[in-house]
């Protein structure tokens, strides 16, 4: 069991919806809130998203920014009991299937698709193919392609379709007239959630940690909702773009500026269904590990106390306590 402690470390990586984490650290807002609760929270930037989750899973961090899918597969699948402290947003068009000169998903049949394998892109593709009655096996192949090189890859003749996320999506759509958005995450709202997940034991032993982080986060959310230029510009630059570019990406992101919205999302009736289909996808790909006997081997707990998957192995919890406190102004 985790001990009470006063120093915490969060990891985050560059993505539209997570840029506030960098701003929190740089602007001193995090420190301010941490001080208020008598603790110290350090927020560390990763360039490599997977590495940040791996580091969290290995215990080097107390929390990490991650999607619901990756949380389920890596830390929860790896036995680290993890709680979604904050639901920041869901992808509402931020992830997309893009093809050259194709008009519908059916056209992908027999073609190679480049994407980051086993990522939310892969999940999005699977969900998309589902809608037109295709399976991954109907494609020529799925080629694992690093997100960092996706734009260059798209520019080559070998590549006919890619699945990726912002800012790459807007970059590709913007600079390639023949690029067509065949399917994006706005068609599966609420399925790709961008979270701040933390170690459940740590959180239980240190409620102040949850309070400080939630308080700081929603202060920045307030600034963003109010259109604070300075904050938004800082985030834009940190992600390597400018204000306009960042705002464009924000448009495809359903940010929960208001903690009440986030609470609502966590309590949504659709969430268990989403998590179950994500788990099935992961199991199908063998990501839940060789030890996983079935898709429901990891249990997910929801705010109302219901559980999907194995009740004996709950490793992923949606907890609205701290978001609710923010909504109530109790921080």
């Amino acid at each position: 069991a985790a001990q009470e402690k006063t120093e915490f470390k969060l990891a985050w990586s560059i993505y539209v919806g997570w840029m506030p984490w960098g701003y929190l650290e740089d602007s001193g807002i995090m420190d301010k809130w941490a001080e208020k609760y008598g603790i110290d929270v350090e927020i560390v930037q990763f360039n490599d998203y997977v590495e940040s989750i791996n580091q969290y899973t290995a215990g080097a961090f107390d929390g990490v920014s991650a999607t619901n899918m990756d949380t389920l597969s890596i830390p929860s699948g790896g036995g680290v009991d993890t709680t979604a402290l904050i639901i920041g947003d869901y992808s509402n068009g931020n992830d997309a299937v893009i093809a050259k000169g194709a008009s519908s998903l059916e056209d992908l049949k027999g073609k190679p698709v480049n994407l980051v394998e086993l990522s939310v892109s892969h999940y999005l593709l699977a969900r998309g193919l589902d809608t037109v009655g295709l399976e991954e096996a109907d494609l020529e192949s799925v080629i694992n392609t690093s997100d960092a090189d996706m734009i260059a890859a798209y520019a080559t003749d070998d590549v006919q379709a890619v699945v990726t996320w912002n800012p790459l999506v807007s970059e590709i759509l913007g600079s390639n007239p023949d690029a067509v958005n065949l399917f994006d995450s706005s068609k599966i709202p609420g399925e790709i959630l961008d979270l701040m997940v933390v170690n459940t034991e740590t959180l239980e032993a240190n409620p102040n940690f949850g309070k400080a982080v939630a308080g700081a986060w929603y202060e920045v959310m307030g600034l963003m909702a109010a259109g604070d230029e300075a904050a938004l510009t800082a985030m834009a630059e940190a992600s390597g773009t400018d204000l306009a570019g960042y705002k464009a990406q924000m448009a495809a992101t359903e940010m929960f500026f208001d903690p009440a919205d986030a609470v609502a999302q966590a309590s949504s009736e659709a969430l268990p269904g989403t998590m179950t289909s994500v788990a099935e996808f992961l199991f199908d790909k063998g990501i839940l590990g060789e030890g996983a006997p079935s898709a429901d081997f990891v249990g997910v707990a929801y705010p109302d106390g219901s559980i999907s998957g194995s009740e004996a192995n709950v490793k992923f919890r949606f907890d609205t306590t701290y978001m609710q406190m923010a909504a109530d102004g109790a921080l």
Partner: protein
Amino acid sequence: MRLINHIPARPGAIILAALPFVLIFVAYSVASDFRLTANPQDKLLPAPSTIAETAERLFTTPDKRSKEILLWNDTLASLARLSGGVAISAALSLVLGLAIGLLPYARSLFSGFIAVLSMVPPLALLPILFIVFGLGEVSKVVLIVIGITPFMTRDLAQRVMEIPKEQIVKAQTLGASSWVIAQRVALPQVLPRLISNVRLSLGSAWLFLIAAEAVASDVGLGYRIFLVRRYLAMDVILTYVIWITLLAFVIDWLLKSLSRRAFPWMEAGL
């Protein structure tokens, strides 16, 4: 007696040589055990027994979907790329090295250029490579070639220039043309060096291969490592790392033996 004059006896020497490996293994086992006690599902440092099981599975169990054993597919794909890249580099560096070493004109033309080229970080140029060579096998091979050829060329040119002037003059007095000198005097004398260059460059070649496979691929040792990193399957990663180390070792040993066999006029060397 001085330390330098203490020579371990036969059994002691073998135990000593094994010691670091044993220590690493014990350290790993302890660390793994420690983590697994805290969290039985910990993935970072799987127990040695888990790794052994995983390794056995990887080497013998075919993939559900493709009915092929992925590890062997990965190995074949990577070795093909590696050997392709290294072979092209070797050929290129041999031709360029001979030209630069023997012909003053070629020396003026290339030596500065290659010195600069050898300083360029090739990984940063990947996007351009992709556009020019596509995303397929070619760009992976080209990355290896770009990565290791400048170094090999510089070294070979250096070696050609180190061939005693006397031999070149002697060959001329025997009526040899530039071509005959290149091919009958210089070439055979730098071939052993080419092999040791290949041995020296293999480490970098693996690095570039893994980097290229991490960027865009659907088969290969580097691809698999980066893919399973997605779910921190360290048992798979460690199996692959050990396998790559073993492959590298065997290749190195083969090249060393080849060099010894093929060039009886050389001392053991390197």
